[in-house]
Structures are given as structure tokens and as C-alpha cells.
Amino acid sequence: MENTTPPNQQRDLQDKISLLVDGELDRPAERDLLKKIQTCEETLQLYKNQVAYKKMVSEKITRKCCGEDLKEALRSKIRGL
């Protein structure tokens, strides 16, 4: 899809979309942006990209757990204090 928005405005738009997806936009700005997402294909695509990015990072990055041994070691340490 060809971008029709000038680069500086596109950065602002991408910033706002990130804020929306992160849950950091205030209500009026959120309402305005959601309206734009419904009516502008380019904005909709940027929104979909950002949602996919967040999903990818939260679901696919390897998560490590400490396991019960570390928790038990910590319990023993604080009991010994």
C-alpha cells in the first residue's frame, strides 16, 4: 500500500497509534483516532501492524521462569535473618 501521508505526519500518526495500542491515549484522542481508523485505510493498516507487533512480542519472545528452587532458597534466606 502506498503511503500518502507526509513523513512527519506519519510519525505523529504512528506515535498516536502506539499510544492507542498501549492504552495511553486520553478518551477524546482515542475516540478521534478510532474514527480515523474506521475511515482511512492507511491508518487502519498502521493500527493492524502495531497490534500485530505487540502480539508478536508479548507471545513469542522466550519467557524464562525462576522455578520453585529459587523461591524456596529465598524463603530460607529470609527465615534465617
Binding site: Q14, Q45, N49, R63, K64
Partner: protein, 190 residues
Amino acid sequence: MIAVSSEPISNKEQLFENELLPHADALYNFAYHLTYNEADANDLVQETFMKAFRFINSFDSGTNAKAWLFKILKNGFINEYRKKKKEPNKVDYEDVIAYQDADEDSGGVVFDLREDIFDGMMGDEITVALNRLPIDFKTVILLCDIEGFTYEEIAKIIDIPIGTVRSRLHRARNMLKESLKEYAEKMGYK
């Protein structure tokens, strides 16, 4: 019945068990991605919990224990661990800040990848790309995109203004996407 003289300690232990220890896995995951080493992550998490327990009287039950623990861990990592290790592949903290501030002034670059490219990515590639990022950029992605902290909480955890959290996150995500672009091209995406 004899009164239990150790009751205050028991309360502390109860608080530790109920409000702090449930965050051990999240803290370990954060520590692992900061150090990229299981033993170091283990040490960092233990140090964090011991510091938290030492200062548990200053912790208000019901407040944001997770953010408090993450702040202690991040301070421990920055102030002690990295000074000891002096890892050659890690970018110096001050250099990163200078770089990041310069980036803010430049107006930044818009960089994006299509949603279908993210869907096709493998977890290992994304993890490697994340771990290649300079530590301060990796940190904001871990705190926001993996742990779900708000910008305000992130600002408090890493002691920077909210505006800087926002711009650093923007830059960090662009860096991660740029790094993944090469992999996406190898996979045949254009």
C-alpha cells in the same frame, strides 16, 4: 498461651510471601533478558528480593509491589552488576542516553513492518533481535510490551520523564523492527 514474640517478623514473611514472591518469575524473566545469563539472572533476582525484604517496612501493602521490585532490580543491575561485569558488548549507559537524546532531536524515522510479517516470525529470532538491542532500549520494550507496565510506571522504574519513555519506546520498537526486517526478507517477505 504464651504470646509469640516474633509476630512482626511473621508479618514481614507473610507480606513477602503474598505480595512480593508472586512476582519472582516476571523478575527472573526481566533479569534474564538484561543479563542474558541464567546464573547472573538468578543472583540478580536473589539480591533484589533480599533488598526488598530489608526495606519491607517502607512498602505499603496493596501498592504496586511489582513496579517496586522491578525498580530495585533495575537499580541493582545498573549500579552494581554492570560495573562489576564491564561486558564489552554492552553499550555504556551514558552513551545510550546521549544517542537517544540525539535521536529525539532528529525527528526520527518512521519504520514499520506489515502485520503478516509479524505473524510469520519465529520466537527465537525475535528473542535474539531483542537481546541485541542496547540495554536501555531493550529495557523499555521488556517493561511495556512484555510486562505491560504503563508509561508512568516505566518512568518511575527507570527514573526518566514520561516523554522520554514514549520517545525511547518509539525508537526501541523501530530498532527491533529494523533488525527483524533482514530476517523477514530471508523468509521471503518483501
